[in-house]
Subunit: 421 residues, 2 copies
C-alpha cells in the first residue's frame, strides 16, 4: 500500500554527474530548493515539503540526448522515482503539471528528462470528475451504436464553401457513419464560420436521420479564443449538436477542464501539437502520463494515433496508448480511444489483434470519402472489416464472401487500400 500523500513520478534522466545527485537536484528544484541554501529553508519545510527521490536505477552510459551548456562526450542514463508531497500541489491540475513537468526540463545538468509514469493519490483523482460521457454516454448519443464506432473527417480539411460542406455532410450522414468531425485545422474561418457549419450540419444530419434512422454525432471544433469558448459550445448545443471538439494540447489542459464544467455534450479531445512535447524520448511526458491528466480534465474521446497510420508511433506504441485509456483511474470513465490517420479496411485486424477491444472510435477520412463506390460503401466496408477482424476472418475471405452475397463494398475497399486480391 503506497503513500497516498504523494504524487509519484518515474523520470528518464541523463546526467554527467551521479544520477542519484542529479535526481536529488531535480527534486529540490521542483519543491523547496534553490541553487544556494537560503534562510528560512527550515527542517520543518524540508520534512513536509521537499520532494523525495525514492529510487534510482542506472541504465548505463550513452551519448547525451539533449543539448545543454556543456557538451559532455557521454552521460549516465537512469530511471528515477520521485515523490512530490500532495500538500505542495493540492488537487489543481495546472499546479500538478508545473510540478511534475515544469522547470525541470530546463535543468542544464540534465541531458534528458522525461516523465514516463505517474501514480496519483486517490484524493487527487477523486477531486476531478473525469469524462462526463465516456464510452457509454457516447454510444447512447449515437443511438446505442455497438461494436467499433466508425467516424470520419470532413475533407478537404480546409477550404470548402458552404454548399460544398453541405453536400459533404449530407453524403456522410446518409452513409450512417457514427461520427463526423471537423478537421483540427477547421475552426471558425470567415469563409465557412462555425455558426454556419453548425446550422448546416445539424440540419443535414436531422434530414439524414429521417431516412436512415441512425443518429450521427458531429464533433464541432470549438477550438479558439477562451472568451468565446462557452458561446461556441452553446451554439452547438442550442442547434441540437451532440459533441464539441477541442485541440487539447494547443488550448491547454485547464481549458479542457473548464469546458468539462459546463459542456452538455461529449468533448472530443484532439491531440494536435502533442507530439511536440512527446516525440523526443528524452523530453516531455509519455502518452501514459498525458492521458491521465487529459482524462481527469474530462476528455470523453481521446486521440491515440492509429495502427498502420502515417504518424510516428509504432503499432505497439499505439496499442499501448489504447490500453492506457482502459486502465482504472479512480472512478473516472475511460475516454473513447480514438484511432486516426491512415485508417481504412486494412487496420481493423491489427487493431483488434493488438487491443482485443471494440470500445474504440476509428476515424477514417480518406478511408470513407475516397471509397471507390462512395462514402456509404466506405462506412459499410469499415464495419464489415471490423466484423471480420472480430470473427477472425481474413479481409480477403470476408470481402469475397460479402461480394458474393451482394455487397462488394469491402472487396472494392480492400482492392483500393490493400489486403484483398
Amino acid at each position: 500500500m503506497r503513500d497516498q500523500r504523494v504524487v509519484r513520478c518515474t523520470y528518464y534522466l541523463e546526467s554527467e554527474i551521479d544520477p542519484e545527485r542529479a535526481a536529488a537536484a531535480m527534486a529540490g528544484e521542483q519543491s523547496s530548493g534553490t541553487f544556494v541554501a537560503v534562510p528560512g529553508e527550515s527542517p520543518r519545510i524540508r520534512e513536509r515539503h521537499a520532494a523525495q527521490v525514492v529510487s534510482v536505477r542506472g541504465l548505463g552510459v550513452r551519448s547525451p540526448s539533449l543539448p545543454s551548456r556543456s557538451r559532455p562526450e557521454s552521460v549516465r542514463a537512469a530511471l528515477a522515482v520521485v515523490e512530490f508531497p500532495m500538500e505542495n500541489i493540492g488537487t489543481d491540475l495546472a499546479t500538478l503539471q508545473t510540478t511534475i513537468a515544469g522547470n525541470l526540463f530546463e535543468l542544464g545538468e540534465l541531458f534528458a528528462c522525461r516523465v514516463q509514469d505517474i501514480e496519483l493519490p486517490e484524493e487527487f483523482v477523486a477531486a476531478h470528475p473525469g469524462p462526463a460521457f465516456g464510452i457509454p454516454g457516447t454510444r447512447r448519443l449515437m443511438g446505442g451504436a455497438e461494436g467499433v464506432m466508425i467516424g470520419t473527417i470532413i475533407k478537404p480539411n480546409v477550404g470548402l464553401a458552404e454548399d460544398e460542406f453541405r453536400l459533404s455532410v449530407r453524403e456522410l450522414a446518409r452513409a450512417s457513419v457514427d461520427l463526423i468531425k471537423d478537421d483540427e485545422l477547421m475552426t471558425d474561418p470567415a469563409y465557412l464560420p462555425l455558426e454556419r457549419r453548425i446550422a448546416v450540419a445539424t440540419e443535414e444530419i436531422r434530414a439524414a436521420e429521417q431516412i436512415t434512422g441512425h443518429p450521427v454525432m458531429y464533433a464541432f471544433n470549438i477550438t479558439g479564443d477562451l472568451a468565446g469558448l462557452r458561446r461556441r459550445h452553446d451554439m452547438v448545443v442550442e442547434a441540437g449538436g451532440r459533441c464539441v471538439m477541442l485541440n487539447v494540447p494547443v488550448m491547454g489542459l485547464p481549458a479542457l477542464a473548464w469546458l468539462r464544467e459546463f459542456s452538455e455534450v461529449p468533448v472530443h479531445g484532439h491531440r494536435a501539437g502533442l507530439a511536440g512535447s512527446m516525440r523526443s524520448p528524452a523530453l516531455g511526458m509519455s502518452y501514459r502520463v498525458w492521458q491521465q491528466l487529459a482524462r481527469l480534465a474530462g476528455a470523453d474521446h481521446l486521440h491515440v494515433s492509429g495502427l498502420g497510420s502515417k504518424f510516428y508511433e509504432t503499432d505497439a506504441e499505439v496499442a499501448e496508448n489504447v490500453r492506457s485509456l482502459f486502465e482504472p483511474l479512480g472512478k473516472t470513465l475511460s475516454p473513447v480511444p480514438t484511432l486516426s490517420s491512415g485508417q481504412n479496411v486494412t487496420t481493423p485486424a491489427p487493431t483488434f489483434a493488438a487491443t482485443g477491444s471494440t470500445d474504440l472510435l476509428m476515424l477514417a477520412g480518406g478511408g470513407v470519402a475516397a471509397h471507390p463506390d462512395g462514402p456509404a460503401a466506405g462506412v459499410r466496408s469499415l464495419r464489415a472489416a471490423w466484423a471480420a477482424a472480430v470473427d477472425g476472418v481474413s479481409l480477403d475471405v470476408a470481402a469475397h464472401t460479402a461480394a458474393e452475397a451482394g455487397d462488394p463494398a469491402l472487396l472494392h475497399a480492400g482492392r483500393a487500400f490493400g489486403g484483398v486480391a
Copy 2:
C-alpha cells in the same frame, strides 16, 4: 515586399525521402491534403487554401534525430520555408498554433520537424493588442524605476507558513527591490492560500513603502483552474496588487490571451514547461517563434532564462531570446525580458555585454535572500553590479571602491558568488 496574405514559417526537417517531397507532404497535411486524393479537393481549394513550399535548402545527411515507425540509418536534413494562407487561419492564435505546430510533429516520414522562424502578416499582428503595460507600464508601476529592474522570488519555493511568508515579504519589500514574485510552484495551496498571500503581501508592501518610498510590484501566481482565473485576478487588483503571474506553457496561450482581455495589471509570463517542447533541436518551436505568440497574447513580462544560469540554454542563446523581444512586431510593446535562474552579482556584466540593454528584469532568488548581509544588501549589490556593468567597471574594482566608500554589499556578494577577490 512579401505577400501579406500568408503566414510564412521556416522549418527544420529531416526525412528519408527527398526533402522537397517531405516538405510538400507536410504542407498538404497542414492545409487541404489527406493521405489519398478525395473527391472535392477542387482546383479552387488547392489554389486558395493549399500551403505552399517556397524553398527548401538541403543541409546534408545525418542520423535521424527522432524515432519513427521506420528506423533509417541516415536522413536528409533541410530548412523548408512554407507559406500558409491567412484565409485558412484567420486571426485566431489557437488556429495559428494548430496550423504551424500541430499534427505536423506527428508525421512518420519526418525525423525532425521544428518551427524555427515565423513571419506573420500585418493583419494577423494588428488583430492582437499585445502587452498592455510592457516595459514603460511596468516601470511606471514601480515608481519610475530606472535601469535594470531587480526582482526576487520568495524562497523557499514552497512550504512557508503565513507568518514566515509575512517576514519574508517584509524583509524583501524593505530592501527596495522592484519586484517580488511567487515561485511558479506556488499557486493556491491550503497551507498558504493565494487570498492570504495577497492580503499579507499587499499589507507588508504598503507598510514598507511608507518607510522606503519605493513602490514594490508583487507578481502573484494566479495559475490554476480557468473557472477561477478572473476571481483570482480580481482578488489581486482589489487588494491593490500590481501584477499577476501566469505559467504560460502550462495554462496555454489562449489562457494568456483571455487574461489579457480583462487584466488591469501587468501579466508576468512564466515559462514553466516550455523546454518540454523547445529543448530538442528537432522538435517543437524556437523561442523566437514562441515569444511572438506569447507577445501577441499579451505577456507584459516574459522569461528568457538567464545568462550564467543553471538552465540548458547557452548565454548566446539567452541573449538571442532577449534580442527577439526587442524586435518590432507590429505596434505591440516589447515584453520585459525577464532573466532568471542563478542570477547574482556576477551576471550583469555578461548580460549587458551580450544584450547592450538595461530594459531588463533580473530575478535573483538566492542572489538576494542569501546575501551574507541580508536581502537589502543583496538588492544594493545587484544594483551596484549593474551600474558597474553599464559603466564598464570590473566587478572587483567596483566592489572595492564601494566598500571604501562605506557600502561593502557588493564586496560581500562578490566574495559569496564569485568575481571578487
